[in-house]
Amino acid sequence: MGLLTDPSVGHGALTSIFVRHHNRFCIVMYIVSVVLFCMLAHYSLSSQTYFSENALLPGLVKGQLNDNTGSSFRDHFRELNAEAQHYETETPHAYLISKFKNLRLETYSHNFTLNYPLKKNTKYTGRNVYGILRAPRSASIESIVLSVPYRAPSSVFPSTLPGLAVMFQIAQFFRQQIYWAKDIIFLVTEHEQLGMQAWLEAYHGTSCGSPGVLDSGKLSGRAGAIQAAINLEIHSDKIDHIDIKLSGLNGQLPNLDLVNLAHRLCNKESVKHTFNNVDGGAIGRSKVNSYYTNLSTMMSMVMTQATGVPDGNHGLFHRFGIEAITLEGYEKEGRGIYSSVFQVGRVIEGMFRSLNNLLERFHQSFFFYLLPSTDRYVSIGLYMPCLVLLVGALFLKAFSTWIQHSSEHKSGDSSAQATIPERLNVGMVSVITLGSHVVGLILLPNLAPAYFTHFWNYIPTHRALLLGYGLLSITIVCLLPIIMNKCLNSFKSSNWVLLHVICLLELGIGLLCVSMHNFSLGYLTALVYVLPAVCIKSSQNRIIVKLLWLIVHPMCSLFWITAYITYTAYPELPISDFLTKVLEASGQWMVLSTIDNMIYGNWAFSVGVLLLLPVWTSFWCLMFLPTNVSQKLKAE
């Protein structure tokens, strides 16, 4: 109870140490956080993965998928290839439907329409085909999905036809089995993630993005509640390795048990399996070497998750509370040992039979984790302290700023305290914070971009967006200092503690909330913004701090990131070409992000506009607000 009953009116020794050296503490916390984060990949901090859900019983049965009954894989694949060559850019719906019907599945197709949000009267249509295998052992209460995105030969992405042929083979095999207790849905989607999103929205009868953008249509046949889903992208019939992909929309991850299941069964069928294209096995590597491999794997996971964009069709399931992963099979190039499609097929068979055993929804194991390797994980309790340290630096700064301010009032001029009750300029501060948030609200991806493209309708969409957001940012950056200096002279104050504290707290709490949903995004943002934010003072900021803060403007940050990515992709580009390329890429990124927001409900852009931009603007105001410290000094 000492915390509550400590009666000293002045603050304790510990507090005063914190307040006096808060900048040093902040820096130390920052460094400790970064070091701790890098340490997470080490063996001592990550732990071996294990199964929490015993009902999965993986590896209990022997895979039985084979080529002996019905058509063989070769037949399916040859037939499919011939059909695909026939339609260069389209999906052979009729063939798929008849194929599913031949496999004796309940077959349906599903139409959807996209009203392209940034251009009026532009529509795209698509059609998914799916077949349901009804469970012989129960009513249609629960189901499992096996999906393959159909890619026409003209697609820029690698072909998924071998995967589709595997699906046929599996469907044919599953049809003969009697042990299914859950319906199995075989789904072929069109237009990559769009088709998947439309199908999921239609299945659940909701809409996730802005209203009226994606018209998901209606389904004529349904199975039970979907328990889990596996998305299959196999690029060749000779498979080098299976890569298991997890990152979902807005950084949501599937239950770790499902991921483990995939790895464990790949092990059992001796298929080479990787995470982020890095093999997990530590055998034959030195300790230092395996640490670096783990660190780079973890970092690549963080980078993927931070974008908030799913790295496969599985990512769209997560929002509906469905655990899903993608198995991507890469082609074996050259000669050597490869895995056959039957091995992969048996992996899928094993997963489905395990999932078939599930008695309840996935609820054990972890939903929040980082994976440094295929068989190790870092739980939320270990990685969250890294972020808490960064946010703690912001809180410490806010706390000490506030304490310094109030102690000045208490000790300094005791007579003035009564006459001028704490000049905090509440009115002005609330106007600034409200104003910056209103600007953020207007710039939300479902408001401003439509106007920009409408206004500059004669130039490409990505340039219009870049122009719109860029001009607005430049106006704010240039105009605010002038307004602050010229118009607000009557509001002079010795410092603007209240605004400062509000900004710091908003940034801190906002980052914590973001990282609860998407740790990677929160942590990377914190890495960029915490250090400059800690450097800012309530009054009399130096020019270098202002410059530093200008560099991390959300638009500038976007520019730096694209510049870095472009540089790694094309290192030998001349500087002028390089700059135009970066600008174009930034614009395209904004368009993609906007559209993602309106179709899928991805909120990465909204975070930038509703959290980072207002905080940035408020800090920018704070740096240029008139102060009267210089007058005091003169008088003395």
Partner: protein, 431 residues
């Protein structure tokens, strides 16, 4: 100051009107932090329509308002359209803010009067501890603006929770405390406590404030106040009986509150504890929790704070808002708006900054974690409980800090702020 007051009022009204008629109002009304089984408007509507169909609404486990409220809401919804019902709620909030404004004004003026009388007793060097005269103008303004602009009260109002009416009666009760108006005080207290039960603890500050300073007649006055309250509540309960013609409502209202039958998550501490607990310990823990929420603090605090009934009332309201079985943020908003009345104590408070950080943090985290739990299905109940626990702890910190500030101020007024022992500054310890 009048202009500012008017400005704050109009902003408060505009926010309420705008939000009431936008799409936000339904999504806010569905939030567990705002609407509990006891105060949600949805349940009121259900109960009223059952009543109008001549079905006893207390037969099911849906409606938990008193029969008086039932009749009142039935009249309200039949005479007014939906639009005007929202306006009724907004107007009630306005009246509450007005009443609180005058309460604060009278209270601060009384404090100032008392101070001039007893000035000579206080230590000379501590003139700055005395309450400056402008407090009687500024404090009421703060009280009023906190009530009008606080998001907690705003949300509670636009979600049309019955807490709005409850707050109105509580405000009237506090007003009659500072006015020493016994009958109005008893009536409003009974009206406030009938549906929510816990606030009957305010009887203690009411008895103290209505009693004359002369010590001989004190006991008599206490008894009179007590009896008045008792008579009023008995007669109102009988009135309820005549409305329903049976006593089943007692179980539906008080049995429901005391037995904590609905374990839907809220910002309180009951739901998690009683979901996790073994069933055969239930009776024991229900008793322990309910004693803690209702009567445990009344007597000790009344003895310590007998000179300041309004502070006593504030602390009792805070404690019930933390510990009661179905708390909502409307209750929190109400006692928060009472805090500026005690602004002369703020100087001695130490944890104001941390407490306010936690308030903001918890308010933002609760919906975030709720989303993760219910919609994303990735987090679980423990996350949400963690936030509500932090929220409760924060509120306890706040009230403890306020009460200690009161004690410290009393001490400092008598003995001075700095005490030197052997040339060193001495620290005072409270043990």
């Amino acid at each position: 100051m009048e202009k500012l007051l008017f400005f704050v009022y109009s902003i408060g009204i505009l926010i309420r009107i705008y939000l009431s008629f936008s799409d936000f109002s339904t999504s806010i009304a569905d939030r567990v932090e705002v609407s509990t089984p006891l105060n949600s408007w949805k349940r009121v509507i259900e109960g009223v329509s059952l009543y109008n169909e001549n079905i006893n609404p207390y037969d099911g486990d849906l409606f938990h308002e008193t029969p008086l409220a039932l009749v009142f809401f039935s009249h309200l919804t039949s005479t007014f359209s939906d639009f005007y019902v929202s306006l009724v709620f907004i107007v009630c909030d306005l009246i509450t803010a007005f009443v609180l404004y005058y309460t604060s004004k009278i209270y601060t003026e009384n404090l100032l009067k008392q101070q001039t009388k007893t000035k000579h007793v206080y230590n000379k060097e501590f003139n700055k501890l005395l309450i400056p005269d402008d407090f009687s103008v500024i404090n009421p303004f703060y009280v009023c603006s906190v009530y009008m602009l606080n998001p907690y009260t705003v949300f509670s109002c636009i979600a049309r929770t019955t807490t709005v009416f409850n707050n109105l009666f509580l405000a009237l009760c506090l007003y009659s405390m500072v006015k020493r108006h016994r009958l109005l005080g008893c009536l409003s207290l009974v009206l406030a406590s009938l549906p929510t039960f816990y606030t009957f603890g305010l009887l203690a500050p009411l008895m103290i404030s209505c009693a004359p300073i002369d010590s001989k007649k004190k006991t008599g006055s206490f008894i009179i106040t007590f009896l008045t309250c008792g008579t009023i509540s008995c007669s109102l309960l009988y009135l309820c009986y005549t409305i329903m013609n049976e006593w089943t409502f007692l179980d539906s209202v008080y049995g429901f509150i005391l037995n904590v039958r609905d374990l839907k998550p809220n910002i309180g501490l009951f739901w998690y504890f009683f979901t996790e607990m073994f069933e055969h310990f239930r009776a024991l823990f229900v008793c322990a929790f309910q004693l803690n929420a209702s009567v445990l603090y009344v007597i000790p605090l009344s003895i310590r704070l007998r000179r300041d009934p309004l502070l006593l009332a504030t602390s009792l309201l805070t404690l019930t808002a933390v510990f009661k079985s179905y708390p909502s943020i409307g209750d929190v908003g109400f006692y928060l708006s009472l805090l500026p009345i005690h602004r002369h104590l703020f100087y001695f408070m130490q944890q104001a900054f941390i407490v306010s950080c936690f308030f903001v943090g918890c308010t933002v985290f609760a919906p975030t974690v709720w989303h993760l739990w219910i919609y994303s299905r990735s987090a679980n109940a423990n996350f949400y409980f963690g936030v509500t626990l932090a929220f409760a702890t924060t509120q306890i910190f706040l009230i403890t800090d306020l009460l200690f500030a009161y004690i410290k101020r009393e001490f400092a007024l008598k003995h001075g702020m700095k005490r030197m022992i052997n040339g060193k500054e001495a620290r005072l310890m409270l043990d």
